[in-house]
Amino acid sequence: MIKVSGVTKTFRTGSSEIQAVDDVHLAVQPGEFILIFGRSGSGKSTLLGMLAGLIRPTNGEIRINGVDIGNLSDDKISELRAKEIGFVFQFSGLLPTVTVLENVLVPTLFCKNSPGSRSRALELLKKVGVSDRADAYPRTLSSGEMKRVAIARALINGPSLLIADEPTGDLDVDTEIEIMELFRQLNCEGTTIVMVTHNPDLIHYGTQTYCMDRGKMVKRPESSSFNKWEPGPDTHLKPKDVP
């Protein structure tokens, strides 16, 4: 479904260069729940941005359902993103000027032949547990409710992949568990998920877990020793390690 081969991203600021992602290889199969851990600045969010086609790799190739997204025009990659990828951000990312229901429907504007409709949006809001807030504006919701709405919005076009960038980073522990259980439920129903987080307590939610360190994808430790684990040069994932 997703094949990342030797992807590198270098940011240039003035005369200095920052290697945010360095020779990353990754494969994501349908139905998987991929968790990518890493400290702040390890390059995991840059990798997610590249998977979504929002950041162009400096080198390497990213294929989604066989399509090399590096060669697509802005219109084509936007179309692919609208149809195939649902996005959940660290913050809610809801538009303040439209209601909860309309927020869920916004992605249908960008997707030709979207299955999204008012009734489907209401169904999704029901599924994530906020159908009673359909006509409310985002400013009246709690953080947890906003996150649930953002998840419903990410699913409206029936994407094959859900990308989540530290979706529980701003939530309290109880709400974090509720949201992660929701992700697990969606994954059990067949949604492929790629999520990045810096919280090792979430490791058991993933069907595959990876770590990033200084731009490199590294082998993950056993969950029991995760908190004490320190990546080293020998843990760097090579192409042969990727299925």
Binding site: L54, I55, S78, Q90, P96, L109, R118, Y137
Partner: protein, 401 residues
């Protein structure tokens, strides 16, 4: 066939506009000021021009001959209706009638009245010779077949009285038999009577009026001249001034120049106001645009992450900007048109210009051009946000918090 979406592009625009009221009201206000001042300038100039065209064409005369010292007063009588009394020898009229190229000549006597019940201010009474007059009958709006008889008057459109009712001037009672069509010129405030009745009114004024009126026998105030077809009015005018010393001719182009001169100051003020408003508004709109651009960078980045293409974002930004420009334009034009129509007489009197409400077609053109100006400025104002937003890296903006 795919079903229509439950949430449309237009819905997003409407929501974005209605749910950011303060910023958008400020923007709409700026557009309203720009469109309103531009429309007002166009409207006043067009109204004055149309009034002049209508008035001059209805006057039916190519040349107006007045005493040399009263050329300015003659123009004022025609253009703004400011009452005035002046005379020159009737013999001049006979000479004018005989000049080669003169097809018709009609003498008039101008009398400034005292206050009358009809009017807030003295009006211009114009005595005519019905046998020789070739102008009044073509202007009649009400009772067009009427012949002006003993003690009858025909009144301008601004004189408040109905046909069949009486009006009193210098203690003499006149009977209203006709009302002229509106021209926006001085004739709207004039009252037309016969020479004979004017002389009787003057004779009786010593006893009946608070102030005695004197009309010198054998004198007239002005002579309207229509030239033969194919004859140059300028040549005839020159001949009149040569053969009848002490006279001055006023031609339609002279009236146009006079009006242009009067309008010039007004239009300069209006254009300066338009320019000043535009100069002030564009930086204001630019400032609002920059604020909008920075405020909406994150929102637009979210839209991009959800699948919006750059072209969608550009369309959204432009559509919102154009919507504000159009709303502001309509409000500005509508408000200006309303104010200008309501205070039409006040404006005409204050600015001392002939004025009638422009035709619907002219108003549509003026409104359209004012709206277009708003839209163009709206487009220019949205260029920076569009540039900034399309150049920004969406994912970095989103991650920026």
């Amino acid at each position: 066939m795919s079903k229509p979406p439950d949430f449309r592009f237009f819905s997003l625009i409407v929501r974005n506009l209605t749910n950011r009221p303060y910023r958008n009201i400020a923007t709409v206000f700026a557009f309203a000021i720009i469109a309103g001042t531009f429309f007002s300038s166009q409207y006043l100039m067009s109204g004055a021009q149309q009034s002049l065209d209508t008035g001059i064409s209805r006057m039916g005369a190519d040349i107006l001959v007045v005493p040399e010292d009263y050329a300015g007063a003659g123009q004022t009588v025609i253009l703004s209706g400011t009452p005035s009394s002046f005379f020159f020898a009737d013999s001049g009229f006979e000479k004018i009638s005989r000049i080669h190229g003169v097809a018709k000549a009609s003498p008039q006597i101008y009398i400034a009245t005292l206050f009358a019940s009809c009017c807030a201010a003295p009006v211009q009474m114009i005595a005519i010779d019905p046998e020789r007059d070739f102008t009044i009958s073509t202007w009649l709006k009400k009772n067009p077949e009427v012949k002006i008889g003993k003690d009858d008057i025909i009144i301008g459109s601004a004189i408040i009285q109905d046909v069949g009712k009486d009006l009193m001037f210098y203690g003499h009672t006149f009977h209203v038999v006709g009302v002229l069509e509106q021209t926006g010129m001085g004739v709207d405030n004039a009252v037309f009577t016969r020479f004979e009745d004017a002389y009787v009114m003057a004779a009786e004024s010593g006893e009946k009026a608070v102030k005695k009126l004197t009309i010198p026998e054998g004198m007239v105030s002005a002579v309207l001249v229509k030239v033969d077809p194919g004859t140059s009015p300028a040549a005839v005018a020159s001949e009149i001034m040569t053969q009848v010393p002490g006279t001055k001719v006023i031609m339609s182009n002279g009236l146009l120049n006079a009006v242009s001169g009067q309008l010039g100051a007004t239009t300069r003020i209006l254009y300066s106001a338009s320019l000043a408003v535009t100069i002030v508004s564009i930086p204001l709109l630019g400032l609002i645009s920059v604020m909008v651009a920075h405020e909406r960078k994150k929102e637009v980045s979210i839209l991009r992450a959800l699948g919006a293409s750059k072209s969608f974002v550009v369309r959204l930004m432009l559509a919102e900007s154009f919507s504000l420009a159009i709303i502001g334009g309509f409000i500005g034009i509508g408000a200006s048109a309303g104010i200008l129509m309501i205070y039409q007489d006040f404006i005409r009197i204050t600015l001392k210009i002939p004025f009638i409400i422009p035709s619907p077609t002219a108003m549509l053109v003026q409104g359209g051009s004012a709206l277009l100006l708003s839209i163009v400025i709206g487009g220019i104002a949205s260029l920076y946000p569009v540039f900034l937003i399309t150049r920004s890296a969406p994912y970095e903006t989103i991650r920026g918090g």
